[in-house]
């Protein structure tokens, strides 16, 4: 009997369990194949909702379901932590010492935030004037404070890349602008977005289309800022090169790392514990019978639920090919799409992959849309909220979402004008980092 073991029952792991149980329903019935999924939590959290929770738009109960209700009946579920993977013997060692043998291993254990990796962030002031919204507890604590906050300097900082949902910190800034406007105290709040990147919008098409949003919403920008330490009592965020941003309330997006057990498995993950895989086939570099998916892997694509959704179809086919001893043919193209909340009941939609930047146009159909790309609209905001339904009933069960395709389609998009082959000429001007205001 073949045994497929999935580590992690978040978005990616749950989709894979549903897809593989459907693909192999006959083999499972006649006991030629067994699928096991391991996770230490009882509940499944709808992570996109964590952005809205601090602003009272969602409550915790809106975002949480039991894992067992999201998984197929045919999967064997084990609620346990993971100690390590023994790739040489094809075994997973659980926290209690139990061993699981596998023929194929899928690592879908996602990311976790590590605020204690930044000096001072979890010291004095943590939970009082320094927060994060990437965990349920963190988002709930922040909601409590925002409700009572009377104003001051709000600083949103990304410690380093990569992070899950790279636009969420910017969305937070836009939502904060809306939230404090609704509360009538916007003039008492100073919002600053502090990023290690060299701009808020690093892709050319996005910069052209969206930079105006920062000015319109009164969001200050500090770039090329690599946070080295936080002084909570004095409200100072300090970079490695000693630049300072003062704050009264700091919303940090802490350093992201992969699951702990990856550190105990030599050769499996990089220094941030992301599983090293082939970015097209999703097969681990360590061994051919190990695969990865979702936030847990080191591919140069956004860590987003939509990436996991598109990766899942590729991975399902490649696992099928692997079990048949055939070459892995299916290739992930880096496809990601997402709705970006911009506040005041509007959002914008972007759709892109490894090779194509977010482009303007209509999604999914040319001309008809209905969702405008790279443009604010109320329909996109409705789409973002509707997405919660799509998540539970279409995405997690591994179903096709109407209007979308696994590989990014150029349908409806307006490509960039082609740059003519110019003769080799003078160098373009350098862009030096922005000074702190």
């Amino acid at each position: 009997m073949k045994h497929i073991v999935i580590l992690g029952a978040g978005t990616a792991g749950t989709i894979m369990a549903n897809r593989l149980c459907r693909r192999y329903r006959n083999e499972i019935k006649c006991e030629a194949l067994r699928i096991t999924i391991v996770d230490q939590e009882r509940n499944h959290l709808y992570r996109p909702g964590l952005l809205f929770l601090p602003f009272g738009i969602y409550q915790p109960t809106d975002l949480v379901r039991r894992q067992v209700d999201c998984l197929p009946k045919q999967v064997n579920r084990i609620e346990s932590g993971i100690e390590r993977v023994s790739s040489a013997t094809n075994e997973v060692v659980l926290s209690d010492g139990r061993k699981l043998s596998y023929d194929v291993l899928i690592i879908a254990t996602g990311t976790q935030v590590a605020p204690d990796e930044t000096d001072g962030l979890t010291g004095a002031g943590w939970g009082e004037r320094m927060f994060e919204f990437y965990t349920l507890d963190g988002a709930v604590a922040l909601a409590d404070v925002l409700e009572r906050w009377e104003g001051g300097r709000l600083v949103i900082n990304i410690v380093d890349m990569p992070i899950t949902c790279p636009v969420a910190p910017l969305e937070f800034a836009f939502l904060a602008d809306w939230y404090f406007t609704e509360r009538g105290i916007r003039d008492k709040v100073d919002i600053t977005y502090v990023t290690p990147l060299d701009s808020a919008f690093t892709k050319e098409t996005c910069a052209k289309a969206l930079t105006h949003l920062l000015t319109e919403k009164g969001v200050r920008l500090v770039t090329d800022f690599n946070a080295g330490s936080v002084d909570g009592p004095n409200g100072r965020l300090v970079s490695w090169d000693d630049r300072v941003v003062g704050f009264d309330l700091l919303v940090s997006v802490p350093l992201h790392m992969g699951a702990e057990f990856i550190r105990h498995t030599p050769g499996l993950g990089d220094d941030q514990r992301f599983v090293m895989v082939d970015q097209r086939t999703l097969q681990a570099r360590l061994k051919p019978n190990i695969f990865g998916i979702g936030d847990a892997i080191d591919v140069p694509v956004s860590k987003a639920g939509s990436a996991a959704h598109f990766e899942a179809e590729i991975l399902e086919h490649n696992i099928g090919r692997y079990l048949d001893d055939s070459p892995l043919e299916h290739r992930f193209d880096g496809h990601v799409n997402c709705f970006i909340e911009t506040g005041f009941k509007k959002a914008l939609l972007i759709d892109f992959n490894y090779n194509v930047e977010p482009l303007p146009g209509k999604f999914p159909l040319s001309g008809i849309g209905p969702f405008p790309l790279l443009e604010e609209s109320r329909l996109n905001h409705a789409g973002k909220l509707l997405f919660r339904w799509i998540y539970w009933y279409l995405l997690l069960p591994g179903r096709h979402i109407p209007g979308t395709s696994t590989h990014m389609s150029m349908r409806g998009k307006r490509p960039l004008p082609r740059t003519p082959d110019t003769p080799a000429g003078p160098r373009p001007r350098q862009h030096l980092p922005t000074q702190v205001a």
């Binding site: 380093d160 990023t195 690093t202 050319e204 350093l255 990601v336 080799a424 373009p428």
Partner: protein
């Protein structure tokens, strides 16, 4: 696609994006690195500079993206404070430019 153009540097023609970051790392060589460094105010590339540049290229070729400053600080053998001395103000970005790899970017 990012809008591409070609430039002439150290006697070679290479593909760059709108900000002058190389898009095809295989077109790079050390003389290009020297010239890029001079353009951003680094007169001479010392062995410590090369250690960082070589690490960046290796990591990019393995993982498809430039390492973050933290990864650089931890894994290149050159600590973060020193990275700021070698590549002033924006080490991860400057080192990427000199190493002939695409600039570190977000998703938007």
């Amino acid at each position: 696609m990012t809008a591409l153009s070609q430039i002439s540097i150290a006697g070679k023609t290479v593909d760059v994006d709108g900000e002058g970051y190389m898009q095809r790392p295989e077109q790079w060589d050390r003389s290009i690195a020297q010239e890029m460094a001079e353009e951003v105010g680094i007169e001479e590339l010392t062995p410590r500079h090369w250690q960082v540049v070589e690490f960046m290229r290796k990591r990019f070729l393995e993982a498809g993206s430039a390492p973050s400053i933290r990864a650089l600080g931890k894994e290149s053998g050159v600590p973060i404070k020193e990275l700021y001395l070698l590549f002033p103000k924006a080490p991860a970005k400057l080192a990427a430019r000199i190493a002939g790899i695409p600039k570190p970017r977000g998703c938007i």
